[in-house]
């Protein structure tokens, strides 16, 4: 039993990443992309009977019901996915699984975040020290991380990924220029994607490496920039694919892994959940990494791409640095990677950032990527990653069932 060929993505909509979204509510943003994704597929609202959303700040609970009512849907399958950056990819296989199980026939997967302009926080050096991060307020957050990690400054993600980069360099060797190459090639892709937040700016390795070091060894330009945005994907059953206006991106395989929450409890870099999720996805699809024509890999940081390349099996262990140096990672290159620019250059609109890797894989399979289209693409791999390499979801998409 596998998900292979049970369902396909037939509709896509994306609100391009932007720094701020003014007074629009998150429900407004999600509604906008939901309507657009249904129209993209040519499906009526009455044909949508599944809904997957994620936790939303300001909505204390009952999120699927709140969103469903707002959209005028009465789904027979309603679900919430809470896997950090793997949430978007995690939604897609859950939609296919619900369809395969007969719980719904067409499922809307929604991600997004709003962002209002606030007084700049600056660089934290002169700020008010009495302010505690809300999520680590002792009265609100009783998680083990609030108790045993936060008092040491283990907050946010920069610290954890910097530790991963240092451990990786210790075990296998890694040059700063190799990490920077990922950001630079992805920027070239973004330069061909009008929706990317850095569409109009070029980037060189020197610029990456001369940007401020935030957490050694990671530079500012190796770190995603938070943005606002949204994405909606419509997944439908195999026997409904013919009703869609757009060609299908078939879901051929999926895999998932959750290994820890605190980075102190993470498995070694040679035994991450990345590999578990990817191997499962490839195995379900019956394909190998070398069959894949587009790698759409979660890139919260440059080093995450390197780790995923080798853990997912695109190159041998310890060779990711040399691999990215030896290959042209642009849409016209010999190993197309994150052709939308990756989140590093496309922008990271919350959970829609992780979904952007899925959206790009789907659109490339559908042949709708314009100037950055990979000709004749048959198979794409999309990978989502949450927390500090804690949650992993891999998806294989195909043009043929």
């Amino acid at each position: 039993m596998s998900l292979k060929g049970a369902a396909a993505v037939v509709g896509v909509a994306e609100l391009a990443p932007q720094r701020y979204t003014g007074d629009a509510t998150i429900l407004d943003l999600l509604s906008g992309v939901a309507v657009e994704a249904m129209a993209d597929a040519g499906f009526y609202r009455s044909q949508v009977d599944g809904l997957i959303v994620h936790p939303i700040g300001g909505l204390p609970g009952f999120v699927p019901a709140t969103v469903a009512e707002h959209l005028g849907l009465q789904p027979t399958f309603a679900e919430i996915v809470d896997l950090g950056g793997a949430t978007g990819a995690g939604m897609i296989w859950r939609a296919a699984a619900a369809i395969q199980a007969g719980m719904c026939t067409t499922c809307l997967c929604l991600t997004g975040t709003r962002r209002r302009k606030r007084t700049p926080r600056g660089n934290n050096t002169n700020a008010d020290t009495s302010r505690r991060p809300r999520s680590f307020s002792p009265s609100r957050d009783r998680s083990p991380q609030a108790e045993f990690d936060a008092p040491y400054g283990m907050l946010g993600a920069n610290v954890g990924y910097a530790m991963i980069a240092n451990r990786y360099a210790h075990e296998y060797g890694l040059k700063d220029t190799q990490r920077a190459k990922v950001a630079v090639d992805q920027r070239k892709n973004a330069n061909a994607n009008p929706a990317a937040i850095f569409h109009d700016q070029t980037l060189t390795i020197d610029q990456v490496l001369s940007s401020e070091v935030i957490c050694e060894p990671l530079h500012m330009l190796e770190i995603v920039m938070p943005a606002a945005g949204a994405a909606a994907l419509l997944v439908t059953a195999a026997d409904r694919v013919a009703d869609a206006k757009q060609p299908p991106a078939w879901i051929l395989g999926a895999g998932e892994s959750v290994t820890h929450s605190s980075f102190a409890q993470a498995p070694g870099l040679d035994a991450t959940g990345i590999g578990i999720a990817a191997r499962s996805a490839f195995s379900q699809a019956g394909v190998r990494p070398s069959d894949i024509g587009l790698a759409s890999l979660y890139d919260c940081y440059t080093v995450m791409v390197l780790l995923t390349l080798e853990e997912a099996g695109f190159c041998a262990r310890g060779e990711a640095g040399a691999f990215v140096e030896a290959h042209d990672l642009t849409f016209g290159g010999d190993f197309p990677l994150n052709t939308h620019g990756g989140q590093l250059s496309f922008g990271q609109p919350g959970m829609a950032g992780g979904m952007s890797h899925v959206t790009e894989a789907v659109r490339q399979i559908q042949g709708r990527c314009g100037a950055r289209q990979i000709p004749g693409l048959e198979l794409a791999y999309a990978h989502g990653n949450g927390g500090i390499i804690a949650e992993q979801t891999g998806l294989v998409f195909g043009a043929a069932r």
Binding site: A150, P151, A162, M163, E212, P217, A264
Partner: protein, 137 residues
């Protein structure tokens, strides 16, 4: 004394903080499967047994990985930066997040031997275990 985020504790985790207050590092030990574990839990993550006892450990360990944070991860750490945030692997097995203090951050290396030290958090009655390089004579 240093300014830091103050950890929220629970009845289950109190023995850890009481030990730290007495300048000792204590972690749970499973009497069923003979494993140390961290962070504290009601049941052993290896075997599920509830027979967990608190044991004072050596306080010796090594740096599994680390970073030097140049920007404070939170404003409360502004006086600490640049600060070394690390994953420490204890001699007894468990790994924990900590800081490496009492040395030039540039001298910290993966694999380096460290030993526990204790730092009182400002405006609290909480003592936090941190680590320093083992002095080589």
């Amino acid at each position: 004394m240093s300014a830091r985020l103050i950890p929220p504790s629970s009845e289950l985790t109190q023995p850890y903080w009481r030990a730290a207050r007495a300048d000792e590092l204590a972690v749970q030990f499973c009497q069923h499967c003979d494993q140390h574990s961290f962070p504290p839990r009601a049941h052993c993550p290896q075997c599920g047994s509830a027979e967990l006892e608190w044991r004072t450990v050596s306080g010796r360990g090594s740096v599994y990985t680390f970073t030097i944070a140049y920007r404070p991860p939170h404003p409360v750490f502004s006086e600490h930066c640049p600060m070394v945030i690390a994953v420490i692997e204890l001699e007894e097995g468990p790994r924990m997040i900590s800081n490496i203090v009492g040395c030039d951050p540039a001298t910290v290396e993966i694999g380096m031997a460290v030993q526990v030290a204790f730092e009182e958090i400002e405006d609290s009655k909480v003592t936090l275990p941190v680590f320093t390089p083992v002095k080589t004579s």
